[in-house]
């Protein structure tokens, strides 16, 4: 028997919102009714009057309501380098950015290459994190590119995919076997596409690198690895996802592969969609990324590919680094930028300034990653987990060290004004973040 008193207390509604959930065909005025962490109803029918007195009602006053974002590429320092970031601190940043699920990478110390470590991550997340966390496990033991991990046991423990995170599996033979074996468990294989022998450079190869006297990493390095992998996918039939592509050539290669019907998808980081190699300026290490920021022409190609669906997923690539790894000469500095908290805001600039439909951006950060990873979140439908964000599309805010919740402060958007952000984030029906206007 359901206790009606308790029942009504846990029932909540967000009404008078502009709901954007393209995968469910929602794009317009409506509301959402939730109970015990699950969605009961969503759409234009859900109004203040329809839910009656049975629910606590929040008036969204016309703000936009989207599915909670799923960020498919997040690094934290837990376990191993907690001074950079913990699951808890990263989840605080995620919540502030409207991200309700973080997919964490296996590049930790120790590496997530064992079922016990998957279990550790999930338990730590349950006890300390304010958003959902799901790990990807390593493809090879210790990320050494040689011995396959226990793919079946890792999946059973809760790994949502396998990847080497910041590096590729260089050996075609090892990668072929991993694809073949992962296919039996229907597990997604995620690759960092970069041919190692062509990737000794520290920024995009070309005139800018030559002027700065920095060694270049050519876009071809990415294309060569991508094309190799696609042949192996053709051979094995495994589900394959290129974690981040960064160049026009890669976009063309992915477009052709999809046209051929291969089971492949790809992502791009929001940094590669809104920044280019010229942003490095006077050796600014917060713009040192892997793959490197490329030319404006490449950036434009990526934006088009998001708009036409060739790029399935937008990620933050959140990678916390501290002064000891970033306040160094460019070539010596670590790769990576934080991004959980700015993912949505930066992506919205593509909507505001470059005409990318909002629905397309929302899909690339919610329903698409959910579909690729087979998650039940990422959608607004009755029976789905109540993960969503209320977004003010036009709220301007300045990215400053003291407002960022991440323990690391290496944001390439430091001191920039971004337009639009999450003002409330709800995970499993609970509000985990509310924006305080200053």
């Amino acid at each position: 028997m359901i206790n009606p008193a308790k029942h009504s207390a846990r029932r909540r509604a967000y009404v008078n919102a502009n709901i954007v959930a393209p995968a469910q065909g929602l794009n317009g005025k409506g509301g959402i009714l939730i109970e015990d962490g699950w969605i009961l109803d969503v759409g234009p029918k859900v109004t203040k009057d329809s839910v009656g007195a049975s629910a606590t009602v929040t008036d969204c006053k016309g703000l936009t309501l989207i599915p909670g974002l799923i960020d498919m590429r997040v690094f934290t320092g837990e376990p191993g380098t907690e001074y950079r970031e913990t699951l808890a601190s990263a989840s605080g940043a995620a919540a502030a950015g409207g991200v309700t699920t973080m997919i964490v990478m296996p590049n930790t110390q120790p590496v997530i290459d064992d079922a016990a470590i998957v279990d550790f991550i999930l338990r730590r997340a349950r006890d300390t994190a304010s958003v959902r966390v799901a790990p990807m496990a390593a493809i090879t033991k210790g990320l050494n590119g040689e011995m396959m991990t226990e793919i079946g046991l890792l999946k059973e423990a809760g790994a949502v995919a396998i990847t080497e995170g910041t590096k590729p599996v260089a050996s075609a033979n090892v990668f072929r076997r991993a694809l073949t074996y992962a296919k039996d468990f229907d597990l997604l294989v995620v690759q960092h596409v970069e041919e190692p022998s062509l990737s000794s450079g520290v920024m995009n190869a070309g005139e800018t690198a030559s002027r700065l006297g920095l060694s270049g990493n050519p876009a071809m390095s990415e294309v060569i690895m991508l094309e190799r992998d696609l042949r192996l996918v053709e051979m094995t039939g495994a589900r394959y996802h290129a974690s981040q592509i960064s160049s026009r050539h890669s976009v063309e290669v992915m477009r052709a592969a999809k046209a051929r019907g291969l089971p492949v998808t790809c992502g791009a980081s929001v940094h590669h969609l809104v920044l280019n190699e010229n942003d490095i300026g006077a050796y600014r290490t917060f713009f040192k990324l892997s793959p490197p920021l490329r030319s404006e022409d490449d950036r434009r190609a990526l934006v088009e590919a998001v708009a036409d669906g060739t790029i399935d997923v937008i990620v933050s690539g959140h990678d916390p680094q501290s002064a000891d790894t970033k306040r160094l000469p460019f070539a010596e500095a670590a790769y990576g930028a934080i991004g959980l908290e700015t993912l949505l805001s930066a992506a919205l600039s593509l909507h505001h300034n470059e005409g990318v439909p909002l629905a397309c951006l929302v899909e690339a950060m919610s329903s698409k990653p959910a579909e690729i990873l087979r998650l039940e979140t990422g959608r607004l439908a009755p029976g789905a987990p109540a993960d969503f964000a209320i977004v003010d599309l036009n709220l301007s805010w300045i990215v400053e060290e003291d407002v960022l919740r991440s323990r690391a402060k290496n944001s390439p958007f430091e001191h920039r004004t971004l337009e639009g952000r999450a003002v409330e984030t709800i995970v499993a029906g609970e509000s985990v973040f509310a924006y305080a206007r200053s």
């Binding site: 002027r211 006297g213 920095l214 006077a282 000891d324 160094l328 000469p329 460019f330 010596e332």
Partner: protein
């Protein structure tokens, strides 16, 4: 010249890259350097415009000639010069470049002369310290005082830059000297060529305002100045060029290849030379060579740079 009566010459606190400075600023430094050439040839070489100033030479890469050149320049101007031998310092104990620089900065130097194997190191320091930073070579980026001393040497022989053909030959890819020289000679109106195998040319070099040549036969034709670059021996074998003897055969400068250039062409080299590899001894020591003179001009140019930058330090450098 008294300390108070010196007009400002540069619009900047630091000298980090030739790319940043205007041709007018460069010419002012060259003009001032001419005077320091004369000073340096006197019996009493002191010109105490930097008395009381402190200059720290912070060299993270071994260098005999540049470091001693900066040291002599500072001392002739009356500065207190300290050479920081990095091998003996905290850097080898894991302290970062910035920590080291901040520590030195706290001792109130007026000049920090820095050489570092990483491109952008001087820029990074300049953002964090309060004294004037002089880039004495950062990675493969720039070596501004080398370009200035090369320009001074050229000007003393050729009187002007307009219409001069300067061929920069060899490992342009890894050379900060080449980058600084390309920028400066372009600003001053010379016509710059680079001559190298494609594996030793940086990507996008065509957009640097240079003519690109892959052979000495075309590259040296009609050249007024032949500037040879040092080939780093560790880069010789296999990775960039197949062998030393092959490199010498196609890109070495000897008496024969020098004949392709104009009869009065100057031969330059930033040093240290690999004799018998990029340059033959008879050419290096021959009548057309100005390699020794480059070293002399180096001291004068560095005196000029120190003097010029000191004019922009407020309150006698103690603020």
């Amino acid at each position: 010249m008294t300390r108070d009566a010196r007009p400002p010459l540069l619009k900047r606190q630091h000298l980090l890259a030739i790319d940043d400075i205007s041709s007018l600023e460069a010419i002012r430094i060259l003009d001032l350097a001419e005077r320091y050439v004369e000073v340096s040839r006197q019996t009493d070489k002191r010109q105490l415009v930097l008395q009381g100033r402190t200059q720290v030479n912070l060299f993270f890469e071994a260098s005999t000639r540049t470091q001693s050149s900066f040291e002599i320049a500072g001392k002739r101007l009356g500065a207190d010069v300290m050479n920081m031998a990095v091998a003996n310092s905290a850097v080898s104990k894991g302290e970062t470049l910035l920590d080291t620089a901040m520590t030195i900065n706290a001792m109130q130097p007026d000049f920090l002369v820095v050489r570092h194997p990483s491109s952008g190191a001087a820029e990074l320091l300049a953002q964090k310290v309060s004294c004037a930073v002089i880039n004495a070579g950062d990675g493969q980026h720039e070596h501004p005082t080398q370009a200035l001393l090369d320009a001074l040497t050229i000007r003393r022989h050729k009187k002007q830059f307009e219409g001069l053909i300067v061929a920069i030959c060899g490992d342009v890819l890894h050379s900060r000297v080449a980058r600084s020289n390309i920028h400066l000679l372009n600003k001053l109106g010379a016509q710059v060529r680079v001559v190298a195998p494609s594996t030793l040319l940086p990507s996008g070099i065509g957009n640097f305002g240079v003519e690109v040549h892959r052979s000495m036969e075309t590259g040296l034709k009609g050249a007024d100045v032949v500037m040879m670059l040092r080939l780093q021996l560790e880069r010789m074998t296999g990775a960039f060029v197949p062998s030393i003897r092959e490199y010498y055969r196609f890109y070495g400068l000897n008496a024969e290849t020098l004949k392709i250039a104009k009869p009065d062409a100057m031969v330059m080299h930033p040093g240290p030379m690999n004799r018998g590899i990029e340059i033959d001894s008879d050419v290096a020591d021959g009548v057309q060579s100005v390699i020794r003179e480059q070293v002399e001009m180096g001291v004068a140019v560095r005196m000029a740079v120190l003097d010029a930058l000191s004019r922009n330090i407020p309150g006698g450098g103690n603020s």
